[in-house]
Amino acid sequence: MNAQMKIFFDALSDGVAIVNKEGIVQYVNEPGNTVFAAKSGAPFPDPRIVKGVRDLAAGFGKAPLSVPLPTQLGSPAGCIAKLMPLPIADQYAIVTHIQTEKQFYEMTLKNFYEFIRIDLAKPIHQFSQQLDFFSEENSSSEMQGLVENGKAISERLQRIEMLAELFGTSPLVDQERLLFETMITNALNAENKQLESRGLEVYLDGLDAELPPVYGSSIWLTRALRELINNAARHALAKSRLEIVLRCTGTHVILSLRNHGQFASKALLQKKLFVPFNQVEEYVRDKKASGSKPGSTPVKGPGLGLPICQQILHLHGGRMTVVEGEGDDIIEFNLELATGAPVNDTQVLDAQQAQRYAHDMVALMQRMQSARAAQAASKKE
């Protein structure tokens, strides 16, 4: 194979091996080396692949032929190999696509979301409209009761649809290496419109290169941060200051977000703020109605936002709290995340690593024996 073709194949993320009609490996690219221990000149290590190639060469089966490869013991990765003839005579390509656990869950989530969105949401909306029609047509108490119950069910199902839409993108937990600098910059950029519309000044402190990384889902932790900033911006007094301060305790990074905002009892906020589907608005309204100081900005309840943020943080070993501030018009949220990677407390050697060690053991022993023999020979001399 010429050098340019080799560069091309090595640049692919999928594993590629080229074999002859007998299944003897002619070439394997770099990603392929990590998937299957194929060696040039030797038969492809999986007998089903060899059989598949021989079948294709003999005219049996239709290319591309899919062959699922077994997963390693304890490995979350799955692998599909596709076999197809090449334009070069008697040569066949084996292309592997690695399906990781993450991809599996992404696909599952997508399927679930599509089920809710297409199969469930449409009939719910139709049902809701029909209920409205029947309630106008029939005023009997039985029908009204039925309509009320139906509407309650429809409303709850719509919440499931909203949840599916929220979570139908990617797994909640991941192990990406995340820098606060990147996350905060991304979150602030995404919320820039909201911040500008309220004329808020953002004060940022403690964001330096020494801050340790955290490990988690980039998408979801940034989303949690966005929700927090968005919430603070919505509740802040117009043209006031939003303060974001970061500090590291050694084991955790704590992000404090303070806004000078509308009055709401902190005790009330603390109690209800993190309850899913709870609307803080009504509590604020109640408070106003009872004669407390009214705010200058209309408040929309965070609804799904903050409760879900808290769950996301919990799943990443972190937490979100409301801190008692200096005065009633200052609200401070703390977002806390553990530094470094999650603790790996497994006491059992990873099965793949053990297999790898066992595979190399003979060669290592031989190497040691040769070294000893050489040492003994040099002593004799």
Partner: protein, 132 residues
């Protein structure tokens, strides 16, 4: 000839043990740390020629930060750092190389390949006269 010193920084005890078993085939002075902070401090104390450094570790410093801090120190500019990564993600590899790592190995790594890499690095170190 000076002793060949290797520091293993890895939070998983079983992987540390496996690396030690592998390196026992050679004549090295081995040091171990189970997190980034103690690994960094041990590196400053024992001045290893080669460091095997896990990327993902709990605590206030992960492998990439340890590597970055050491490589900023002129005394450790020539220390060979081999990053061990569990995921083989290109971003990890790119970041590792950017902060000064000499090479990386993807877990499950081959002990044979590890030995070969270490032998190669010590040959380079010897050639540069550091061990003489």
């Amino acid at each position: 000839m000076k002793t060949k010193r290797i520091l293993i920084v890895e939070d998983q005890a079983d992987i540390r043990k496996l690396i030690r078993m592998t390196l026992d085939f050679g004549d090295y002075e081995l040091h171990e740390a189970d997190n980034g902070d103690s690994g960094y401090n041990l590196a400053l104390t024992v001045a290893p020629h080669i460091i095997l450094l896990d990327v993902m570790m709990p605590g206030s410093m992960d492998g990439l930060q340890v590597c970055e801090k050491l490589k900023k120190n002129p005394d450790y500019l020539h220390t060979k750092i081999i990053m061990l990564t569990a995921r083989g993600q290109q971003s990890d590899i790119d970041t590792g190389l950017k902060v000064g790592a000499n090479s990386y190995m993807i877990k499950p790594f081959s002990p044979l390949e590890l030995m070969d890499t270490i032998d190669r690095y010590f040959a380079e170190i010897e050639a540069s006269g550091v061990l003489a």
